[in-house]
């Protein structure tokens, strides 16, 4: 094995003291993503206070988030279904960090919620109205919706999922 691997490691202070020359660059990258046929309809459903899914009429699988095709059969999923806004917690975490890795005062509880009447189909969301120690795997939860006039056609039109007592 080569005994002397190459590489010149630097510390953050080396940059602060300008020990090495650097170039800074801020890209002006902005995006306007097409939500697509399936998600645009899903988002309108959320604005109306509904969770929509698509059903494959070949294998019967319900997809949420909805798609225009069934991944398993690779056929078009043309049937739209309204799903219950209740489900079970497949997995969850207790997060103490924000997106930018700074620490949160109150932890957030992200979870994968499996929506009722599907076969393990679900999406990422947050659990609310629950203390971290009260959350369990398989726990039954229900969506808490934002007020109709505040909904925008976004995943946050569901404020969070709360435990069904």
């Amino acid at each position: 094995m080569p005994s002397q691997p190459q590489g010149t490691g630097l510390k953050e202070e080396d940059f602060e003291r300008e020990k090495v020359l650097t170039v800074a660059y801020q890209p002006l990258a902005k995006y306007s993503w097409a939500t697509g046929v399936a998600i645009s309809r899903f988002l309108s459903g959320l604005k109306a206070g509904e969770i929509l899914g698509t059903k494959c009429d070949h294998c019967g699988r319900i997809a949420v988030p909805p798609r225009i095709f069934c991944e398993l059969c690779f056929k078009r999923s043309a049937v739209w279904v309204k799903l219950p806004d209740t489900g079970s917690v497949n997995t969850f975490s207790i997060s103490h960090i924000a997106t930018d890795t700074t620490r949160l005062k109150t932890p957030t509880i992200p979870a994968v919620i499996e929506i009722d009447s599907t076969r393990h189909a679900g999406f990422l969301h947050i659990i609310g109205e629950a203390k971290p120690e009260e959350v369990t795997m398989g726990m039954r939860v229900k969506a808490v919706w934002a007020d109709p006039e505040k909904r925008k056609g976004s995943i946050t039109d569901i404020k969070y999922f709360k435990p069904i007592k």
Binding site: T91, S95, L124
Partner: protein
């Protein structure tokens, strides 16, 4: 399946793995490529093709990163191509290179993998933000650690694994890495250190996680006739496998990486491995987090589902155990420059199977080993089986 030419690894090289390298990505790629060439006493004109792996352009901050790295990776006026499958890239690069030689199209292929994450600010993790669905996940303000925490928690809960058994992997790998000259954060930590480290997103704690790194690795591949002229101890790539699952990660049960198992079956099938636990002498599964080593041991069918923690607890996976796992020190100890990390594991297989791993050498004259990488959105398993 018909393979035209048997393929061997005949040389390997790697840089140090560092938190912040002064070298540019091109220079890192060069240092690794040069060592691989020198170790086989080969010149650039003997190299017929070049396969380069590197993960998101957003880390190095250079668009068209493959083209950018080309000259440092030896690609000047050669058939050169780049592959990218997230964290799976390191092992996938070898498979990409293997195609060049196994097909009979080329006699030799230089495989290089590079990453320079330190360029990306405020923190390379910010570049991972786009891994989440931009429409229905980003508005929730996610952090990359969430995904790992959710998968880890599901795995722990499904098999009732206490956190201590998982943390033991970090202790083992960071200690193994003390014997690796390229290691970034090798350290003799205790179980208590891991368990007392800051909780990021339960159950993930700070010391469960591999670091952000800059680094590069390279291996030289040759067809059988040419390999035997280059070296007395070629290491054969006898099996390759790769498999991916859907980006709708919330529609899969995360406790078992079925795509890793699919890739492993493909590679084992090619290599004639019918009983992995008995026929594999040691393994380098991908360990960006400690629980991932266990998750992937099961995905590689080296033990039953839920059994990996028990093997760790019993010392089976230590370097002097019956099935050494990550004798290199893994990503947890050596470092994690995203694309290069998997290739570091292949380099380890090469050195171990030739008896050249120095203080890291596993005993008992190992003959057959498996390396595996993983990545994208919990999606890909890339596997190679190598034999001396």
């Amino acid at each position: 399946m018909q393979v035209k030419k048997r393929v061997a690894v005949v040389g390997a090289g790697m840089t140090k793995f560092m938190r912040r390298a002064q070298e540019t990505g091109k220079e890192l790629a060069f240092e690794a490529a040069k060592q691989a060439l020198d170790s086989a006493e080969m010149r650039m004109q003997d190299v017929d093709s070049v396969a380069l792996g590197s993960a998101p352009d957003a880390f190095d901050g250079v668009h068209m990163k493959g083209e950018y790295l080309l000259d440092g990776a030896g690609g000047w006026q050669k058939p050169y191509s780049r592959n990218f499958v997230g964290g799976g890239t390191g092992v996938f690069s070898v498979i990409h290179g293997w195609w060049h030689v196994a097909s009979g199209l080329f006699d030799t292929c230089l495989v290089v993998a590079e990453e320079k994450m330190s360029t990306c600010l405020p923190h390379p993790q910010t570049a991972f933000l786009t891994i989440f669905d931009n429409m229905i996940e980003r508005p929730l303000g996610p952090n990359l650690i969430w995904i790992f925490a959710l998968e880890m928690h599901r795995y722990m809960q499904k098999h009732k694994i206490p956190k201590e058994q998982i943390a033991q992997v970090a202790v083992k790998n960071k200690r193994n890495a003390l014997d690796h000259p390229s290691a970034q954060i090798a350290k003799a930590v205790t179980l208590r250190d891991i368990m007392n480290s800051e909780v990021m997103a339960w159950p993930v704690q700070r010391l469960d996680i591999s670091p952000v790194s800059d680094g590069a690795c390279a291996v030289l591949l040759a067809s059988e006739d040419v390999a035997r002229k280059i070296t007395d101890s070629p290491v054969w790539i006898d099996g390759v496998g790769w498999n991916l699952d859907t980006t709708y990660w919330t529609n899969r049960d995360l406790y078992f990486p079925r795509y890793v198992a699919n890739a492993a079956r493909m590679a084992y099938g090619m290599a004639g491995i019918t009983n992995p636990r008995k026929q594999i002498d040691f393994a380098e599964p991908y360990d960006p987090f400690d629980y991932k080593e266990l998750h992937h041991m099961e995905g590689l069918l080296l033990c039953r589902k839920g059994e990996a923690p028990k093997l760790t607890k019993e010392g089976v996976t230590e370097r002097d155990g019956n099935l050494p796992i990550c004798p290199s020190g893994g990503l947890l100890g050596v470092g994690n420059p995203i694309a290069a990390a998997g290739l570091m594991k292949v380099c380890e297989l090469f050195w171990q199977l030739r008896g050249e791993a120095g203080k890291r050498q596993v005993a008992g004259d190992p003959r057959t080993a498996v390396a595996q990488a993983w990545g994208d959105l919990m999606q890909i398993g890339t596997v190679v089986v190598m034999r001396s």
